[in-house]
Subunit: 149 residues, 6 copies
């Protein structure tokens, strides 16, 4: 069932490094097991438009990911805290459509059920078929609902 | 007196849902007792300009509000933490002005005292009297200070 | 009277330079006659949280300011356009308060009149008198209105 | 057919006024015929996190809307330019659903056709029926496509 | 020499579409010849945290790129203007380093000269050699300067 | 060695006060011992583009800094939490260059070593010598590496 779990949150403010490296570091972190990486625009002293980088991590990956941040970025410090996370149960199903099979994430918790077509699969179909991605997403959603009922 | 209290902070990143629904969800949450709801622009992977939604809640409302987020949004997870809150004592007084009565929030802590005219009351006067809101706010502030001394 | 005037707008996107330099460049531009300099957080390709720097300039300063941007920043191109500007007439008056004289900007256009205490003067008073800046601004505003009537 | 049209763009930077008034001014502008009003977070000198307010207007409304900005805000200047606008033809149709009638915007240009359920109608249904707004939007979209074919 | 050139600026506000599609659309636009694509976080009416998408384009690509925006996004209108662009002359040179050859962009205008190592080449070296990207960029910069003198 | 330490995080949302005061308050906080102060653009209810102010503080400074926030700002509450911080060891060394001596921060943790020229020293040289700040930073970096080997 969808339980509470704990995740590590690593945060660091970057005000003296090129955004090129921030984009690169995010890729490295995701490739090394980060649950999520995102940036928030912040304003620091001396009129600097900076970025706060946030990394969500499993506890067992914390050390490895913190080391990547220290190695790749100019930061001298990383803030670290633990948060709980409400989490829906997830399952991947395969949905067949006229344009090919698509993986679809089905999440549930109590009587809430959500359906999310896999972005990469839909993107591939959109490019191959020359259709707007929006249309592909809606078509897959419709098929998924029919299949799940 | 203005004590420390504890509030629950719920955070979720939204990168696959229309902002229309984010605005709607914020209204639902405020109508259901959230202490505050706000959004922060963030950047997620695959060049997605997303939003982090933050909900501040009393502990007794946490479950109800988390359910609204899970029901209304596309998110599969909500981060949850507890923070302390420095809080000024608040009191609502009525201030009489030439343009009608206005509620004014008076907050105090130690020797700090703050006066904040109620936005909705001032807005109503501004529209009715055809005055700039700024002017109404300043007029009410002046009257409040005279009345409080 | 408050007429339309034309100003030059210079814009450049910075995604491969430290924010330290952006802050520095803004100072240089303001010291060299820019009417205004501001930054907007933007997201560029490859997951880069970047900054768009906007410079407002008089036509006669355009070349000098564009050269500063090209010299100080990593950019290879500056977008340039001309916009009209609605502009209120401005006048500086001196307002005497219990805490010293303060310059106050008085702007007018048709029957609209606005009063803005000079930030630097109020800041100095706030620090010297140990008062909240907000309180100083409000006190100066009140005195200005009395003096202007 | 979907032609090019011209719209006026008014922009002003606000760094010395409460965001309460910015929200209020946006409402006033929309109620007075603005095509759109939006805010962008910017950073101005002296470490001020400010807002740029942008108003899109028909030419015949420009003067009225510029006056509202000058009257309500602290700004001393408004930048003004004209831009062209690619515009899709729009038509409102009524779509009948199990949960009531919904207005749906149908836009077209060449062989591109788009369907957008009216937010306010869907919101009303979502609240009345106790359904997630997302679900209502998807249901209306599905009905619209069936009706339009 | 570094001349002024004209570029087309296309702008559209997106407040009723998933950020997934915004990221996808940016990729499509860049692959179809856009000079640049970037997003700015904006706040629209009804508390919607939205995105403004800006596309910079050569005049001959305008129609094709505008069509992609209309096809892929939910927008019903695209603002369009022409801006001039100060542009530095650019040249790509090859720089040999201990870790392999790297393309380096050399830009010049009057007596200003700038050196920018190609991100993709440096990224490849950083991953292959297990070095921080920052270190690789600095090493290539040093080599470039030596070679150029 | 670079140990974990604990820092206090104070956060407050400001939606009814001029950004002028936010900039001022940040200066006050830094002058009173805050480890860092930064602002994040957020969107609050009623279409208000607001700012979240974050203060990082040593535990012994918490009370003093919270009082400044309560005194200077319009806020009625401050969220407060404790986070751990990964911290690199830092040392200041002096580096001699053709353009004068520059302080350089050298940080280390395990086998990671980072070099950061002091911004204020480099800024002074850039202005005095009429060089781009970027160039000065790179020159100092090069000298620092030579001196440290
Ligand atoms: Ni996520
Ligand atoms: Ni997804
Ligand atoms: Ni609040
Ligand atoms: Ni309020
Ligand atoms: Ni300005
Ligand atoms: Ni000012
Ligand atoms: Ni809509
Ligand atoms: Ni719009
Ligand atoms: Ni660019
Ligand atoms: Ni580049
Ligand atoms: Ni910091
Ligand atoms: Ni620094």
């Amino acid at each position: 069932t969808g339980d509470m779990e704990e995740v590590v949150v690593l945060e660091t403010n970057i005000d003296d490094m090129s955004p090129e490296i921030i984009g690169y570091m995010a890729e490295r972190l995701l490739a090394s097991g980060a649950l999520d990486v995102f940036h928030t625009p912040i304003y620091m002293k001396k009129n600097r438009p900076a970025a706060m980088v946030t990394v969500l991590a499993r506890k067992e990956d914390e050390q490895k990911l913190a080391d990547i941040v220290l190695k790749e970025s100019s930061t001298l410090g990383i803030r670290r805290s633990i948060v709980a996370r409400y989490r829906m149960d997830r399952e991947i199903i395969n949905v067949n459509t006229n344009l090919g099979a698509v993986r679809v994430k089905v999440a549930s918790k109590g009587n809430i059920k959500k359906i999310a077509p896999e972005y990469e699969d839909c993107k591939e179909i959109a490019i191959r078929a020359g259709l707007p991605l929006q249309e592909v997403l809606q078509m897959v959603l419709k098929k998924s609902k029919e299949q799940l009922v």
